[in-house]
């Protein structure tokens, strides 16, 4: 539309995006741009709306406010969180990679993600980690200008996780595509990301990973560096178990911080 076909123009522009479903505000005021060949990571606690944000940007869900502009003819590769294939569908990995994409060389596509042995494997028999690689191979096989990955390391053991992120960075270099990925752990993706968006219903903070990891809004959400992996229980819950949106509201006490202070004073 308004975009000239200039390679420095953003791939996607979102302006004031919001989504409200049945009176619940899932996302609000999301404004962002995705640049070519840039890796952007969306982090946030469970239920923060990370996947919802991806869906809005991909055009799978329509926003209730604001708008998304994609570069005309933008070719997107998408890696869903999981592929729950019915066990009654007989399909090999090789066939899956070729389905609907022209001129895919299965061997090359699988070699690219370090899984050349899977070509003849049945899709329904794959382990979590193998499935992630196959999904990544398919997303990359379309030679996308933008690669969108929803929790690409789900079901992958901790050792394999950093490998997957290295792979993503490699793909970016090879395909020169923009990458938008969702993760719930900044420390794992830090090395392989250019920019971080910390989301909890809205964008709490954003910027270079180092910078975000020191941001008060980030620390409020995820706790400090002493306990980088315990974030899942660090956000507040109300009585019904909903995550309370206290992301940028520093007036709340923080359970994790309080615990630490208590520990320090006892020494």
């Amino acid at each position: 539309m308004e975009f000239p076909l200039n390679s420095s123009e953003p791939l996607i522009r979102a302006q004031g995006l919001g989504l409200e479903i049945a009176g619940r505000q899932l996302l609000r005021d999301i404004t962002l741009q995705l640049q070519p060949a840039e890796i952007v990571t969306v982090i946030g606690p469970n239920g923060a709306g990370k996947t919802t944000l991806l869906r809005l940007l991909l055009g799978l869900t329509r926003p209730t406010s604001g708008k998304v502009q994609r570069r005309p003819g933008l070719r997107m590769g998408y890696m869903p969180q999981r592929l729950q294939i019915d066990a009654t569908m007989p399909m090999t990995v090789g066939r899956f990679l070729q389905l609907g994409i022209e001129g895919v060389r299965v061997a090359d596509a699988l070699a690219r993600v370090g899984a050349p042995h899977l070509a003849q494997a049945r899709l329904a028999d794959l382990s979590g980690g193998e499935m992630q690689r196959v999904l990544l191979a398919r997303a990359a096989a379309r030679k996308p200008q933008l690669l969108v990955l929803d929790e690409p390391t789900q079901g992958v053991d901790l050792g394999g996780q950093s490998e997957v992120y290295q792979l993503i960075a490699q793909l970016r270099d090879e395909l020169q595509c923009g990458v938008l990925l969702v993760s719930h752990d900044l420390h794992l993706v830090m090395a392989a990301t250019d920019r971080v968006l910390c989301v909890n219903q809205h964008i709490c903070c954003h910027g270079h990973p180092e910078q975000v990891s020191r941001d008060p809004a980030y620390l409020e959400l995820f706790g400090d560096k002493l306990a980088p992996y315990t974030h899942q229980h660090n956000h507040h819950h109300d009585l019904s178990g909903e995550v309370v949106d206290d992301c940028c509201d520093h007036s709340h006490g923080h359970a994790h911080d309080n615990h630490n202070h208590g520990g320090n004073s006892a020494q």
């Binding site: 592929l83 007989p90 399909m91 389905l99 609907g100």
Partner: protein, 263 residues
């Protein structure tokens, strides 16, 4: 002498025709877990017959039209998803069947309820056969034309959508094919047993197949064999044709399971 009677050949042709398209379509019903969906459409067919009778429309045409209408409605309802789809379909399916039966008896329509419920394959006329041929041809063409898109849609709807597959149109096409199939399968196995003809051959084919295409082909073949066996039983022992066909399909499924257990 029996083999010279044309009604038998009509019955066989009609049964094989339906099996040919219900096989591949049944695979999608299995992969996408649409058994309940098929049930709902099938059970509503009775109401279509009554409406056709009131409006003086040929029954197959009437059922085809009413099933398509219902399929559109279901797609719309599914999108709103306030109730779980399972529950919604369960309610609709049996309410529609009951409504159909009650209307038939209330209106005192001169139809054989049992043949509508269980099929009346041996009464297929040449006109029926032509209509069935037309509907089967439409389904077969659509399946052939949309096959890769249908597969992508079945594997992961959102992935397909991002990759440019018009998922809503594909969903609609699948529903309409199913509605058409129900209109023509009603004559063969009746509204109560249509889902069986859809699901059982596909489920049996599963064990024999390495690719989706193989599974579709085997399902059509197994459906065809079931029709042949069922019809033969019906002629030899004077059993009702529709249930005999379903029983044959069930028997073949069981054989498949036993063979697997022995391996």
């Amino acid at each position: 002498m029996l083999l010279h009677s044309h009604f038998l050949w009509y019955a066989l042709a009609a049964g094989l025709l339906v099996a040919l398209v219900s096989g591949p379509l049944g695979c999608f019903a299995v992969w996408r877990r649409m058994a309940y969906f098929g049930d709902t459409l099938a059970h509503s067919a009775l109401l279509g017959v009554t409406l056709g009778f009131l409006l003086h429309i040929q029954p197959t045409l009437a059922v085809g039209a009413s099933s398509c209408l219902l399929a559109l409605m279901l797609v719309y309802l599914q999108r709103r998803q306030h109730l779980s789809v399972d529950t919604l379909l369960g309610i609709l399916s049996h309410s529609m069947l009951a409504l159909g039966i009650v209307t038939v008896s209330l209106l005192d329509i001169n139809v054989d309820l049992l043949s509508l419920l269980l099929g009346d394959l041996l009464a297929v006329s040449s006109q029926d056969l032509l209509l069935m041929l037309a509907a089967a041809a439409v389904i077969a063409l659509l399946l052939y034309w949309l096959w890769p898109k249908l597969l992508a849609f079945t594997l992961h709807e959102e992935l397909a959508a991002v990759e440019g597959v018009p998922v809503e149109k594909i969903r609609l096409a699948l529903m309409l094919m199913l509605a058409l199939l129900i209109a023509i399968a009603m004559k063969v196995v009746g509204v109560l047993l249509i889902t069986a003809l859809l699901i059982i051959p596909a489920a049996t084919a599963r064990r024999l197949s390495q690719t989706p295409e193989q599974m579709a082909g085997f399902a059509a073949l197994i459906g065809g064999i079931s029709v042949f066996l069922g019809l033969s039983a019906s002629v030899l022992w004077n059993t009702p044709a529709g249930p005999s066909i379903v029983l044959a399909a069930g028997g073949l499924f069981l054989c498949g399971q036993l063979r697997k257990a022995r391996d």
